[in-house]
């Protein structure tokens, strides 16, 4: 199972901080996962229609949407960071 995490306004809008789901059929990279989440419609479609507003981490390292994913990966979606 993939472990998906959402932070900041993504979590607020989706109403959840994370979920687990099987690796979608045919998904090889982050972009494929984004397409699967977008296909759910509703708030998911609204958020994942604009991946340029989102940053991603795979197994707690920053990644691009071209990064490969595999079953059991932890994939986090969040806005650009604003600490300090």
């Amino acid at each position: 199972m993939l472990r998906i995490l959402y932070f900041a306004w993504l979590r607020d809008r989706l109403g959840r901080s994370g979920e687990t789901l099987p690796l979608p059929q045919g998904a090889h990279c982050v972009q494929d996962l984004i397409a699967a989440l977008h296909a759910r419609g509703g708030e998911y479609a609204a958020i994942f229609a604009r991946p340029e507003l989102i940053r991603v981490a795979v197994n707690q390292s920053f990644a691009t949407i071209a990064a490969p994913i595999a079953a059991h990966d932890e994939i986090a979606f969040f806005p650009p960071v604003t600490g300090g």
Partner: protein, 154 residues
């Protein structure tokens, strides 16, 4: 090995105490540079709510700190970042850099803050007196400040 301390915590920190811990047993230190970030008020802001990504935040903070130690030849450094609700005027982040000489300590402090602001997974939500709240947008000048240092591993 440089002495590196990384913490994410809700509680306040004591800069003098942390400085003493950093210096303990290090007679080769000629200076400690310190930066304390404060929740800045204005525009009706009451507080910030800080969220982070447990695990990844600490590992990014450690990478940044170890990179600063290597690049500037630090004897050690301490980075403490607070999370949770912080009212205007409260300290939010502490960076201490100890080195043989002042220049390295001060440069390393700027380096660490520029990288922390843009690469450690923290997010701020602003809470206003009128009850509104909004997630803070990233600032282009923070990215530009980080870019002047090149890559983290350089």
């Amino acid at each position: 090995m440089p002495r590196v301390t990384i913490r994410v915590q809700a509680e306040a920190f004591d800069s003098a105490h942390e400085t003493a811990l950093l210096l303990r047993g290090h007679e080769d230190v000629g200076g400690v540079a310190a930066f304390t970030g404060i929740v800045r008020g204005g525009g009706g802001l009451v507080a910030l709510e800080l969220e982070h990504y447990p695990g990844m935040t600490e590992s990014m903070m450690r990478r940044i700190a170890e990179s600063a130690c290597a690049r500037f030849g630090l004897v050690g450094c301490t980075v403490i970042h607070r999370v949770g609700r912080l009212a205007v005027g409260m300290p939010i982040v502490l960076v201490l850099c100890a080195a043989a000489h002042r220049g390295a300590a001060q440069e390393a402090t700027a380096f660490m803050m520029d990288w922390l602001k843009t690469s450690a997974p923290f997010w701020k939500r602003e809470e206003f007196a009128n009850g509104h709240s909004a997630w803070v947008e990233p600032r282009a000048q923070d990215e530009a400040a980080k870019a002047r240092w090149g890559s983290l591993t350089a």
